[in-house]
Amino acid sequence: MHQFTVEPLVGADWNLWGYNVAFTNSALWMLLAFVALTVFMVGGMKRQMVPGRWQMAVETFTGFIDDLVTANIGHGGKKYVPYVFSLFMFILFANLLGLMPLGVVGVHPFTFTSHFSVTGVLAIMSFAIVLAVGFWKHGLHFFSLFVPSGTPLVMAIIIAPIEFISFLFRPFSLALRLFVAMMAGHVLLEVLSSFVISGWSAGPGFGVLVGIPSFVLMVAICALEILVSGIQAYVFALLTSLYINDAEHLH
């Protein structure tokens, strides 16, 4: 589908160690998400005693992530707030930017979170932090994560491999969840809009029978997609902080 194709905008022939490093539309929209996020944050960081609307909006987000991290990591969790906050806001802005109806003015948004390579890198970052914190803080004792305390030896033989596999699957599940949720939503919208177009071009009868219900459903699904954008960003941040909690405190 055309909305998911990554195409180079500038420098299709830029090469670095044999790999093409062209500036693609994916990179452009990452940059736009970054710029939008920066504008949003800088505009709200005024430290006024009586916050205005903008500052209030920013403080709601920071307070939300602060509560999330405090509730899930607890003692020693403060130092992860910047990372989890950046992750949450970047994913949220990316998801919402991809949903913007900018096609009306001729700009086609590209949802870069609907690509496994992007979400995969985000998930690997989270997983790398978990591994680094775990081994740095607990050393080889970190492997006791795979044997919950109080497990009898007979059960431990069975449980340890299962826990190990589920631990290794974490980055995949993190990345896969975000990527598939975003892609499925956009595919659904595209399928419904193709129903509207082909319904009306098949004649007014089909237009009323198929086109109008599809259009109504499309509007509803759009609202659902906005909800899903927020939930997926939240779930990514929540699971990241849960995994960091595992590394910080073991079981």
């Binding site: 509730a71 899930n72 896969l176 598939v180 949720a181 939930i231 779930v235 929540l238």
Partner: protein, 74 residues
């Protein structure tokens, strides 16, 4: 049955998983709402766990979608 037809049937069967995940997600939110109405005071504190359960149930539906896509296009 030739390979193309079998692929289509396989992708259709994989879509059953999406419906199963719908049951799971509905169960998560339904149970949460049921107990939240019994004890509204404790509901806000459990929102994190609600979304962990939601994420776990939803992942399997998304995996079913991925399987269908892999069968069809890869």
């Amino acid at each position: 049955m030739d390979l193309e037809a079998a692929k289509m049937v396989g992708a259709g069967l994989a879509a059953i998983g999406a419906g199963m995940a719908a049951l799971g997600v509905g169960n998560v939110f339904g149970s949460f709402l049921e107990s939240a109405l019994r004890n509204p005071g404790a509901a806000d504190g459990q929102q994190g766990r609600l979304f962990i359960g939601f994420a776990a149930a939803e992942l399997l539906g998304l995996l079913a979608f991925v399987v269908a896509m892999i069968i069809l296009f890869v």
